[in-house]
């Protein structure tokens, strides 16, 4: 068409040489050696053996069983302490924090929503076993088996009691975190819990600097505020709280009958000891009943409002998904908003996928996010509404008891009880 023939002949020669050269392994044929040279073979170390994962599961079961034994039979805080140390060493430093029940939420959710994703059986067991234990024995997992809880528990030196209202409100963060984590895992965007695991950098002795700093700060807070991650953030803890409410067995402060001596009143650094309730005046009951009614009616309103908030946030949230992020980038490039390219946009243009296809995929993800964000928002609304209802109920308690939901079975309160000391045949020398 527009090429002179001379040039074409010349280039034809070049072409002959170049044709083979274009694709992969053909450019320079592997030589045949005369000297009897033997090619080295590639040595590829295999993945960690499956068997070891089941060792992890066995250790988990052993630790939780031992916890139950120590809490219910021995009533030994000391035993729990050493068990915590063991968990930190094994699940934390030895296993480097990976495979953990909290993070397994992400895997379980993803395996439910993504048919192509298979959760490792050990991961599933790590998720399910603590739930089963909790239904029987309360939060035995939190007590000592969880390395994240244990490391916070161990560094708690000078507990500062948070007001009940503050702790209760902060706990809503955990519900929001759970909602976000499930949303992100279900859409295949991210394992948020794993990405923002504050202590993993400590267990691994290194990692992302931001996470090292966050972990360090969290531990520093944990010196004064008991288990801040467990109480105010842990999404798995949210699930365990609910199951623990109906557990078969429950931790009791006293081995016998409570004599209401008030010695254990401030014993729990996690605010999980409920005090006996006072008698109210008749008029107060009526006012309270009315308020309770209002708050119950408020619950569906809150669920709807928070669901709507979730809807508003869905667009922004969808940017957590790699496809939407890529589509945003390509959209910006196509519309001339940006002049340069990124590694990702260049790689995308190399795949041969059309932009319309990409936008189509992004639209699909965005739709999932609209649906998921509404549900996530509704969950947070539900948590807040139930919290309001619960604080409008006039509970009736006649003795000091461990809060079913909030108790980590750490065993700290045992030694505060005079009856416990009688049991141990060493009467209190205090007071």
């Amino acid at each position: 068409m527009k090429i002179s023939s001379l040039g074409k002949i010349f280039c034809g020669v070049v072409l002959l040489c170049a044709v083979g050269a274009v694709f992969g392994a053909e450019r320079f044929p592997p030589p045949e050696f005369d000297s009897g040279y033997q090619q080295p073979t590639m040595v590829n170390p295999g993945a960690r053996s499956n068997v070891l994962e089941y060792v992890d599961v066995a250790v988990l079961v052993a630790v939780m069983s031992l916890t139950c034994f120590l809490v219910y039979k021995k009533r030994s805080r000391k035993g729990i302490f050493w068990l915590m140390l063991g968990s930190i060493l094994y699940f934390g430093f030895w296993r480097e924090g990976c495979i953990c029940s909290i993070g397994a939420i992400g895997n379980v959710v993803l395996s439910v929503f993504d048919t192509n994703y298979a959760i490792p059986l050990a991961g599933l067991l790590f998720f399910v076993l603590p739930l089963v234990f909790t239904l029987f024995f309360g939060r035995a997992f939190c007590a000592a088996a969880c390395p994240l809880g244990a490391i916070q528990d161990i560094v708690l030196l000078k507990p500062v009691a948070l007001p009940v209202w503050l702790a209760g409100t902060l706990r809503l963060f955990a519900y929001a975190y759970l909602a976000i984590a499930v949303l992100m895992a279900a859409t295949g965007s991210a394992f948020v819990i794993c990405r923002y695991d504050p202590f993993i950098a400590i267990f691994r002795l290194g990692g992302n600097v931001n996470m090292v700093v966050v972990g360090g700060c969290m531990l520093l807070i944990a010196v004064f505020v008991g288990r801040p991650y467990c109480r105010f953030l842990c999404p798995y803890g949210v699930i365990l709280r609910q199951l623990s409410r109906v557990s078969r067995k429950r931790v009791t402060i006293t081995p016998d009958e409570c004599i209401k001596c008030r010695l254990c009143e401030d014993a729990c650094p996690f605010g999980a000891i409920n005090r006996p309730t006072a008698e109210w005046a008749e008029g107060d009951y009526r006012v309270n009943k009315k308020r309770l009614g209002v708050n119950i009616l408020l619950l569906p309103v809150l669920v709807v409002v928070f669901g709507f908030a979730g809807y508003l946030l869905s667009g922004g949230a969808s940017r957590a998904h790699v496809t939407v992020r890529l589509a945003d980038r390509i959209y910006a490039e196509e519309s001339g908003e940006v002049d340069d390219t990124t590694d990702a946009s260049v790689a995308f243009r190399g795949t041969g996928m059309t932009i319309a296809e990409l936008y189509g995929n992004a639209a699909k993800v965005q739709k999932q996010f609209v649906f998921g964000s509404i549900l996530a928002g509704a969950l947070v609304g539900l948590a807040a509404g139930v919290k309001l209802i619960r604080s409008s109920i006039q509970w009736k308690r006649s003795e000091y008891e461990a809060d079913r939901a909030g108790c980590f079975s750490c065993g700290r309160c045992f030694k505060y009880c005079p009856i416990e000391n009688v049991r141990l045949k060493k009467l209190s020398e205090q007071c």
């Binding site: 090429i3 274009v22 209760g168 589509a327 639209a363």
Partner: protein, 583 residues
């Protein structure tokens, strides 16, 4: 408990407490030192090492320029060694430092814990048991704080909501509306009549090289007779002019710039220059083309509202008739041994790009259909062909709008709307450059120096064995595309040999040799054919009864681009000028 033993007890506790406290302080000091060390280490990795790496890269460049300068080489090697040492030392230090930090912190905590345990006294709550008021107050606080938290959350949601992103369902709907909304507003693309009345793409309507109307057979550049106007073209290019109404478009490019020129067809004034710099999506990959191809070999396409252009580096873009760039993107630098040269074709409101590159087994060649006004890709798919230099053409064959393509090893016909393949014939190999034409019921595909194949068009699937009616093997061209009036098909080689075959049976009717060389493809207007000779001649001849020369006019400049014939005017691009021939 007697007083004495109590004192010893307190003393013992005091000593124990002190020992623990001292241990904690010492370990705390060690931990602090380690934190400082690790921070320094971290900064070294983030600041010092990158700067050294940069320095090293600079030195490497110097070494490349002065490979014999022993001192520079030595310096560079020293720095390289130093950098590696620093890196591995840092990694080692980080490992040890974090372990040390962990251990020292553990000691701090445990000694503090034990010290605390020794010093701590169990609490003795004082005061009265809780009053109902306290408990009510507590519940009230809890409710209020939850409400406050919800309010804060709402404010936060509204604040975040301001930065809302792109909704891709809407984007797709918008594009769909732009692409398919034509039903309501009437066609957004030119009618067949309009296309036939213009020269919208390479070799005019259907890529056939057939002009409508009467044209001058002779002109004289020196005397100015028959030359309506002549305008200089700023940057050279091999692309041909395209004409729509009163506008003529050309492209030109060199290594640095890529431009589109718009001329007034009546007077030849340049109306605007469109610039194709800063195209999004372009990497820094270098583009290598042969000099004979240049950076602006592909011809533009226009629909009367837009002009769409593509260049050898894969930049494709679109301008409106006011010269405003509507969109531009890069398709990736095409891997083409002579340089990319396929002109754009048009179907309805879409641009068709035959993006052939690499070898036929590499799956890198593509056929792409893009919306002309937005640049969004309507469809694209991979073709099993090698890099090639012909242009795709769009023509109606037996009621189906068809895209014809020729590349090693297939001539392939596609449905223009859907891109669905209709048929393919494995009949051309090597460096294909001639654009296929459709005439007299056949598609003509040319394999350079080998043969011209006439392919019947009523087949589907692989028609290699069944639908190749005949092959002509005399003096086959390597660059120029053939022309046909439906009865005869004429080929022209670069060296100037014309062969005329009968369309029906492939019988050779005549041959003729002209002195000169030809890159521009011939054009038929009425009963005459127009040939543009490379050194700058326009040769007009009749062909139905053998070759009979009608006239020869001198342009006096190198002319490699195929001409455009519209409305009684011939537009010829020379190396430096654009000529308009007419009365």
């Amino acid at each position: 408990m007697d007083r004495k033993s109590e004192t010893t007890e307190t003393d013992r506790v005091g000593v124990y407490y002190k020992a623990m406290a001292v241990t904690a302080v010492i370990a705390g000091f060690v931990a602090a030192v380690l934190v400082v060390g690790l921070t320094v280490n971290y900064i070294q990795g983030k600041v010092v090492e990158p700067s050294l790496t940069e320095q090293l890269a600079g030195l490497k460049l110097i070494v490349k320029e002065q490979p014999d300068n022993a001192s520079v080489v030595e310096h560079m090697r020293q720095l390289d060694l130093e950098l590696r040492r620093i890196t591995f030392r840092r990694l080692d230090r980080t490992r040890r430092g974090s372990l040390g930090l962990l251990i020292s912190l553990a000691i701090v905590f445990f000694s503090m814990k034990f010290a605390w345990n020794v010093a701590v006294k169990l609490p003795c709550p004082t005061g009265d048991a809780e009053l109902p008021e306290t408990q009510k107050k507590r519940a009230l606080f809890a409710r209020r704080s939850v409400t406050a938290a919800m309010l804060i959350a709402s404010v936060w949601v509204i604040f975040i909501f301001v930065g809302e992103g792109v909704d891709y369902s809407e984007v797709l709907e918008d594009e769909g509306a732009q692409a398919g909304g034509s039903v309501v507003e009437g066609p957004k693309y030119p009618t067949d009549e309009e296309i036939k009345a213009n020269w919208a793409s390479f070799r005019g309507p259907g890529g056939l090289g057939i002009a409508v109307g009467e044209y001058l057979t002779e002109f004289d550049v020196k005397a100015g007779t028959g030359v309506l106007w002549k305008t200089a073209v700023p940057i050279n290019g091999m692309s041909s002019p395209v004409v729509w109404g009163d506008r003529v478009f050309l492209t030109g490019a060199d290594e640095q710039q890529r431009q589109v020129y718009c001329y007034d067809a009546a007077k030849g004034d340049m109306l605007w220059v469109g610039d194709m710099s800063n195209v999004p999506g372009r990497g820094d990959e270098e583009v290598e083309v042969m000099e004979d191809t240049g950076f602006a070999a592909p011809t533009a396409v226009t629909d009367g509202k837009h002009v769409c252009v593509i260049f050898a580096n894969g930049d494709i873009g679109c301008f409106d008739y006011a010269g405003k760039r509507l969109w531009a993107k890069n398709l990736g630098v095409p891997d083409s041994i002579y340089g990319f040269s396929a002109s754009l074709a048009m179907y309805q409101d879409r641009v068709i790009v035959q993006y052939d590159q690499g070898g036929s087994d590499e799956n890198r060649s593509k056929l792409i259909s893009m919306n002309i006004s937005t640049g969004s890709i309507v469809w694209q798919f991979v073709r099993p062909v090698a890099n090639s230099w012909p242009s795709p053409t769009v023509i109606n064959i037996d009621g189906t709008d068809t895209i014809l393509t020729c590349s090693d090893p297939y001539a392939i016909a596609y449905e223009a709307g859907s891109g669905k393949e209709i048929w393919r014939a494995e009949c051309i190999e090597g460096d294909i450059a001639s654009t296929p034409i459709y005439a007299g019921g056949f598609v003509f595909a040319i394999e350079p120096y080998s043969h011209i194949a006439a392919i019947r068009t009523d087949g589907t699937g692989d028609v290699t064995e069944t639908h190749i009616a005949w092959k002509g093997e005399d003096e086959v061209p390597d660059v120029c595309s053939p022309i046909s009036d439906g009865n005869v098909v004429i080929t022209l080689t670069t060296e100037g040999v014309l062969i005329c075959y009968s369309v029906a049976d492939g019988g050779m009717l005549w041959e003729h040799e002209i002195d000169g060389f030809f890159n521009a493809s011939p054009v038929i207007a009425g009963d005459k054919m127009y040939l543009i000779e490379g050194e700058g001649k326009m040769i007009v001849a009749t062909f139905d009864d053998g070759y009979k020369e009608v006239a020869v006019s001198e342009i006096g400049e190198v002319c490699l681009a195929s001409p455009a014939f519209v409305d009684g005017r011939i537009y010829i691009r020379s190396k430096e000028n654009l000529y308009c021939i007419g009365e």
